[in-house]
Symmetry: C2
Subunit: 154 residues, 2 copies
DNA sequence: TAATATATGTTATGTTATAACATTGCAAAT
DNA sequence: ATTTGCAATGTTATAACATAACATATATTA
């Protein structure tokens, strides 16, 4: 459920998967891109671009600048490895890249943990709404904010 | 359908409705708030805060500053008279305020026109997803970007 | 090895949004 | 009538988020 943190194993699996996808698609999974991806998925919560920048600076002890981070993020988003949460200007890792186009989210306002919730019934419903309005979808933002079980019990 | 512009009559009706709601709820529908609301709904397309600011400056010929606009927007959003489209940092008027909590949108990337699409089946589906995840919703961002009928035919 | 493409470094700036405090105007309490 | 309190607005400054433009480096391949 939403509060579950990702284990080291899961994180490593996720990194390997992306590595693999990049290799087989001839995408350069460069050091920076890998670092940014790792920072995002290890963070466990949505993370902001400038927070990523701070971490990069800490790790590398070199001057780093916003474009470096934003470029890496762009790459990761383009290839479906991370998603942007528009409602909070933050980024989250995708734990099943390439298995679906759209990704929907539950975001807890209290603990900040999030969960992907990409059920097909939801996708179908959105798709039907679009068809009904003669609308061709290119991308969907669905971000459900509220409180997760743990936080709403407190 | 999505391409339909609002008529003067509809715009006036919308303003009157908000006026009425404010009166009966003891909300100050001040000059600035009214101006910002009118600018937003007359614009017909999602509008950005700084575009609103420019218009205010043109109308009043006085120095105006971002907080003025953002405060008015906050008021209008709090009371359900306008919505923010997080995916494009823009604001749109709501043509049926107080009749539903959540509002979903179709946004055409080509012509920029938008449409509210708040069908109950969609709302139910989202609600079910939340329940299934033991999640209590406080607010939902659903923004479907793509092409409207007219624009996808061209 | 030169030419090309891809990625990154760097500087500067653009865009979006809010904090903090001063001022105004109006309405209720004295 | 005067003070007090409050909601709204004015104003300055800056925070937070994001990209343009150009220089440099690194890798590929002709």
């Amino acid at each position: 459920m939403i509060k579950k943190e990702k284990s080291i194993t899961e994180l490593n699996a996720s990194i390997s998967r992306v590595d693999e996808i990049c290799r087989s698609n001839n995408l350069g999974f460069t050091d920076i891109r890998r670092q940014v991806f790792e920072i995002i998925i290890k963070n466990n919560k949505p993370i902001k671009a400038y927070e990523i920048l701070d971490e990069i600076r800490n790790i590398t002890n070199k001057p780093s600048h916003p474009p470096t981070v934003y470029r890496a993020i762009d790459f990761l988003i383009e290839n479906g490895f991370v998603h942007k949460l528009n409602s909070i200007n933050s980024f989250v890792g995708c734990f099943h890249p390439k298995t679906h186009e759209e990704c929907y989210f539950l975001i807890c306002k209290k603990c900040n943990l999030y969960q992907e919730c990409c059920d097909d019934s939801l996708k179908d419903r959105i798709s039907k709404t679009a068809v009904h309005n003669k609308f061709v979808i290119s991308n969907t933002t669905l971000e459900i904010e509220g409180h997760c079980l743990d936080c709403s019990q407190k």
